[in-house]
């Protein structure tokens, strides 16, 4: 079982390498042979594309985990830079400190201002440490709350990008109330009278994710995951075997399809063929289209209506058995 996205995509990478070699060979070959080689390159490329398409249309839960965590996957700032203009990062939580795992600030979306927040991962070791692996501390959530308040005060719709393995569980974060910060952030999202759209672009990791994902519309990328616990953690608890992550991923039903099936997200946003990391620009374009479409509908509603509908949407979440006929009806949703 592959443990990383790179390991799992290795066959594909080998094909890519062979294609590259053939291309080089063709370049160095005499005219007569070259044509033949280039034909083979084209054939390989066609097959590779087919392979990618099939492979990515049949991703199992564990492969989704690997893809969602892929270190080439576009991160929040990639989406921000593609989708918005004039993004101006604002930093302060006004309480304790700067947090680089959650970023945010106002920006224009098609010429109208919005407030953007999101978890930010790092692409290399230095960046990852700077971003604390996108695990936000209390300061991150309190900054998010401040920006949400600002959005509400000035009538800017809120858009949040969700991509975190979990909230920071360190002793320091405990001591400054990471639990309170997450809960207060959710509470603030339910108070907002502006439209809000959340989009899970990679890892929707438990409390750290839901902390900024209580929006009017919750979208989820095709290959993103959203889970109450990391599959490895689940496996460790269930079977005392953290390496049974794949089984746990299956058991947890952490895919976009299941989230939609259970009525916990509003829409699955398609990714480019072969995953968002194969075409970050196209991925951002697809995400933007969905965000804009949802915002357009939400903007027609009054603040109190937005609040009420947001409440009702989350209010319905859950599945249980009820002997009360009214509940019983409700649960068949």
């Amino acid at each position: 079982m592959a443990k990383t996205w790179k390991e799992w995509e290795r066959p594909l990478i080998e094909v890519e390498e062979n294609i590259e070699k053939l291309k080089q060979k063709a370049k160095a070959s005499p005219e007569a042979e070259r044509e033949d080689l280039l034909k083979r390159v084209a054939e390989f490329e066609r097959r590779r594309d087919n392979y990618i398409e099939v492979m990515y249309s049949r991703l199992g839960p564990w492969e989704k985990v690997l893809v969602a965590r892929a270190d080439q996957r576009p991160y929040t700032l990639d989406y921000i830079n593609s989708i918005f203009t004039n993004f101006t990062e604002l930093e302060g939580d006004r309480r304790f400190g700067a947090d680089h795992a959650i970023i945010g600030g106002p920006a224009y979306l098609d010429g109208e201002p919005v407030m953007v927040i999101g978890h930010q991962k790092g692409r290399n070791i230095t960046e990852r440490q700077y971003r604390n692996f996108a695990m936000a501390k209390p300061e991150g959530y309190r900054k998010a709350i401040r920006l949400m308040e600002m959005a509400d005060r000035f009538g800017l719709p809120l858009i949040s990008f969700v991509d975190t393995p979990a909230a920071d569980p360190s002793v320091e974060s405990e001591s400054r109330g990471i639990s309170e910060a997450i809960a207060a952030s959710m509470l603030k999202m339910f108070e907002l009278e502006v439209p809000s759209v959340s989009i899970v672009i990679g890892e929707g990791g438990s409390g750290g994710a839901i902390g900024i994902a209580c929006a009017s519309s919750v979208l989820m990328l095709e290959h993103a995951i959203y889970s109450v616990i990391p599959p490895e953690g689940c496996a460790a608890i269930l079977w005392r075997m953290p390496d049974k992550g794949a089984q746990a991923a299956t058991a947890l039903k952490l895919t976009a399809a299941w989230a939609k099936e259970f009525g916990l997200i509003d829409e699955i946003v398609a990714e480019p063929k072969g995953g968002a990391h194969r075409d970050a620009i196209e991925a951002a374009g697809l995400a933007k289209e969905a965000i804009v479409r949802h915002l357009k509908l939400l903007k027609k509603k009054s603040g109190s209506k937005l609040k009420q509908e947001r409440y009702e949407k989350f209010r319905k979440m859950g599945r249980f058995l009820s002997e009360n006929p009214v509940d019983a009806l409700a649960k068949t949703r």
Binding site: V171, E174, S175, A183, L187, Y226, V228, Y311, L321, S322
Partner: protein, 264 residues
């Protein structure tokens, strides 16, 4: 459970009279350790006698994910505990004053919050908001119920939204952290109450102590994640001995709901 005449305090290892121990609300007379209470014991210890009226009894957990062994675990917990899930909810009275109450029971699958617990907490808060009377929730939970996957995570959002309803209606909501109050429960409805009380020595935290200690740079102090540590960090309002809980709650609830109850 067979009633024995004597038992041993798990904390100080001293031998206790069972009858005295129960009279002391399961607080050790030697070391003061607050032993866990079953939900029903908590209700008896806290609210006016015979005042508790249980609601939401008709709902119970499904196995929506068809999660390995979940059905068996649920059935075993139900058989052992006698309740249908980890939270009991309903109306209660404190010195004659009506309150909407929920009490979690750690002995039922670690007090974990799945769809049923989330629904009961939500209803408890909604009833308080609608009836304009205070909400009191005794927390005791290891966190979200893994076996219900994302549905469990969403209970954090759902219960938080219900707290917002109470705020909007000017209805006071007090949560009490008992041993243990952790993870998904702590990071949702539990931590945003107007007033937070805790029992002495209760374990209170977001992540398991092992995880916390591995992360970050600071060393965990010896009282890490205890009620005392959490008080020192400003996260709760007061540590209240179990025998004082009823009086303290009554006093606070009366002061904060003065406007809701017509006076003069």
């Amino acid at each position: 459970m067979k009633a024995e005449a004597f038992l041993q305090c798990s904390q100080c290892k001293k031998i206790l009279f069972s009858v005295e121990f129960e009279q002391l609300l399961r607080v050790c007379p030697h070391c003061g350790h607050h032993h866990r209470l079953l939900a029903k014991q908590r209700i008896t210890a806290t609210f006016d006698p015979e005042s508790f009226e249980e609601l939401d009894k008709e709902i119970s957990s499904l196995d929506p994910l068809e999660f390995p062994d979940y059905e068996e675990k649920l059935e075993a917990a139900q058989a052992k505990n006698g309740a249908t899930d980890s939270v009991i909810s309903g109306w209660a009275k404190l010195d004659g004053m009506k309150v909407s109450a929920a009490v979690a029971d750690f002995s039922f699958m670690g007090g974990s919050m799945g769809s049923v617990a989330g629904e009961k907490i939500t209803r408890t808060l909604e009833r308080a908001a609608d009836a304009h009377c205070p909400a009191i929730i005794f927390c005791a939970s290891g966190g979200a119920r893994m076996q219900e996957g994302l549905l469990s995570l969403m209970q954090m959002a759902k219960t938080t939204a219900a707290v917002q309803r109470c705020r909007e209606n000017g209805v006071p909501y007090i949560s009490v952290f008992t041993d243990p109050t952790m993870a998904g429960v702590l990071a949702s409805y539990a931590s945003i109450a107007d007033i937070i009380l805790a029992e002495p020595g209760a374990l209170i935290g977001f992540a398991g102590a092992r995880v916390s200690k591995q992360a970050g740079v600071s060393k965990a102090p010896s009282d890490f994640q205890t009620a005392e540590w959490v008080l020192q960090n400003g996260m709760i309002d007061k540590i209240v001995h179990r025998r004082e809980m009823r009086t303290t709650l009554t006093n606070l609830v009366k002061m904060l709901s003065w406007r809701l109850v017509k006076h003069g």
